[in-house]
């Protein structure tokens, strides 16, 4: 183990559910003040790892520390230092927003926390909903309350587990602005998300998990600089089929284009010549810089 001052220290953590090895000797360190991304496909072990560090589950083996506090032996200090925004949209239907936040403050041993609660409500644009029952809030508002609940005790480490799943663009932008601000103030942020563009723009460092193992752990910039295939985006003219050899490296994009993964720039010119020879007309050609999604797919394929 190294760096006892780390915000999160995860060392050799294993967790098994029946025959499923959810986490397999996971080790990683998140430094204080980092904006850290935890990525992986469904079932990779991200939520399991978050559950273990939040004390919602217990590791079969290994050590997890939050700001130097063991999550089992020293669970009170570990939890005081951690704020978790859970993935599921959960709420207690008996209470108003303010009651919810006062109660959550009390759980962390805080009384008369209303000044900070008001500040959080203001930042999350919830101040007009303070006395509204949780049941009456929209999904996006409930998501904001979850964020507020994770912040009532001013934790130095904040874990956001898929916080923008099913959330509209406006809230997503507002939420990220607020979380960026918290990070600038010195809070360590750990984020899991399926929106890889969010991770790319927010996270300074990223770990990728697959089948319970860490398969990549690097600075975001270094991950993006990895020598991976070029991505050529094409909009085909008319209803034509690609030649069979190119179909193997092609995928459809969300905007109706065709993305071709090619080894290098020479392969790009060869591909264009092949399309021309096959009589495939092109309306649009774009050679895009590999983004985190390309890197993610490449790393996942390598680890297969």
């Amino acid at each position: 183990m190294s760096d006892p001052s780390a915000a999160l220290l995860i060392d050799g953590v294993c967790k098994r559910y029946g025959s499923l090895q959810a986490l397999d000797h996971v080790s990683l360190t998140v430094r204080q003040g980092e904006f850290f991304g935890l990525l992986g496909p469904n079932g990779a072990g991200k939520t399991t790892l978050i559950s273990l560090l939040a004390g919602l589950g217990r590791a079969d083996s290994g050590v997890i520390r939050v700001m130097g506090h063991d999550v089992v032996a020293d669970y009170r200090d570990a939890r005081r230092n951690l704020g978790v925004v859970p993935q599921e949209l959960v709420f207690d239907p008996f209470f108003t927003v303010r009651e919810t936040l006062r109660i959550q403050s009390g759980y962390f041993g805080l009384r008369r926390n209303d000044d900070w609660i008001d500040e959080i409500l203001h930042h999350l644009d919830l101040h007009t909903k303070a006395d509204v029952n949780m049941r009456a809030l929209s999904g996006g508002m409930k998501r904001r309350v979850l964020v507020a609940q994770a912040l009532v005790h001013r934790p130095p480490v904040i874990v956001l587990d898929e916080p923008t799943a099913g959330v509209d663009v406006e809230l997503r932008q507002g939420l990220w602005a607020f979380v960026r601000d918290l990070n600038r103030q010195g809070h360590t942020i750990v984020l899991t998300t399926h929106y890889l563009e969010e991770a790319e723009s927010l996270c300074g460092r990223i770990a990728m998990l697959k089948q319970g193992r860490v398969i990549a752990l690097d600075n975001t910039a270094d991950l993006l600089a990895r020598p991976i295939q070029q991505s050529l985006r094409l909009r085909l003219r008319g209803d034509v089929a690609l030649p069979a050899d190119l179909r193997a490296v092609a995928r459809a994009t969300a905007d109706g284009r065709v993305a071709l993964s090619l080894d290098n720039a020479d392969a790009v010119s060869a591909c264009l010549a092949r399309l021309h020879a096959a009589g495939v007309g092109l309306e649009e050609i774009e050679l895009v810089r590999p983004d985190l999604e390309d890197v993610f797919i490449s790393i996942m394929q390598e680890a297969a």
Binding site: G55, L56, L82, F94, G106, Y107, G109
Partner: protein, 252 residues
């Protein structure tokens, strides 16, 4: 008492108080209906203790039955609802120890039980004048009985994964033990076999001891009742704390 424990207790009390019509008013009305029907039908036909009318005999039983059932309902329904809806996470994420968790749920359930019991007692004051031979025994058995059922409710709420499992626990365990505990009759009126069976039902001792507080008469000595009820509480507390310490069905 830590702030965390006080807050969880406050939250649990506020939870049932906000729906007081359902959690307090309804069981009081149910008990009142029992009293009206049973006392009307049986008051002149059943003699229990010497000099004690059936209606007077029935009232402490109904008070205690309502108290026990509502103490059980409070902890069990709160936990199953929190588990099913997922908001139990708000209690599991903070630095609340399993002992504080247990204490808060049990205390809140005892408070609900006492509030309902007091409600039943108040509405029955119109129908019968009760003696209060040993008020401390009344308070002792009311509190201890509530705590026993509250602990049982914590166990059931943690064990059950679905509402129908909890309903089964309530209908096949709590309800029969309550009804067969001497709420509506003295066990001395039963055949010998059923008297023996009643003596292995811990609920019988809670109700019998509680009734002793009113009339100064009971089927068994209040000290034996206190011993059995106290032993039941210690055993249930041990079992519940053991479940919570292991994180059974709460921290996988």
């Amino acid at each position: 008492m830590s702030i965390a424990l006080r807050t969880l207790l406050y939250k649990e009390v506020l939870r049932f108080w906000k729906v007081g019509f359902q959690t307090v008013g309804a069981p009081v009305l149910t008990a009142l209906l029992y009293l009206l029907v049973f006392s009307h039908v049986l008051d002149r036909q059943v003699e229990v203790y010497g000099g004690v009318s059936y209606t007077a005999f029935l009232v402490p039983g109904l008070v205690m039955m309502s108290l026990l059932q509502n103490a059980f309902s409070n902890s069990s329904s709160s936990l199953i609802q929190s588990k099913v809806t997922g908001n139990i996470v708000f209690v599991l994420l903070p630095p609340i120890s399993y002992r504080e968790f247990y204490a808060a749920y049990v205390l809140a359930a005892v408070i609900r039980g006492l509030v309902v019991g007091a409600g039943v007692w108040l509405v029955t004051l119109w129908f019968v004048e009760l003696p209060y031979a040993h008020p401390l025994w009344i308070l002792f058995f009311a509190t201890l009985g509530g705590a026993i059922l509250a602990s049982l409710g914590v166990i059931a709420g943690i064990w059950a994964d679905k509402f129908d499992q909890l309903a089964a626990f309530q209908n096949f365990v709590v309800m029969p033990l309550t009804f067969l505990s001497g709420v509506f009759y003295s066990i001395h009126s039963l055949p010998a076999f059923w008297q023996t069976v009643s003596h292995v039902n811990p609920f019988f001792y809670m109700i019998d001891g509680f009734r002793y507080g009113f009339f100064g008469q009971s089927d068994v000595s209040p000290w034996i009742s206190a011993l059995v009820a106290g032993g039941s509480f210690v055993a249930l507390t041990y079992a519940t704390l053991n479940m919570l310490a292991r994180g059974y069905k709460l921290r996988s």
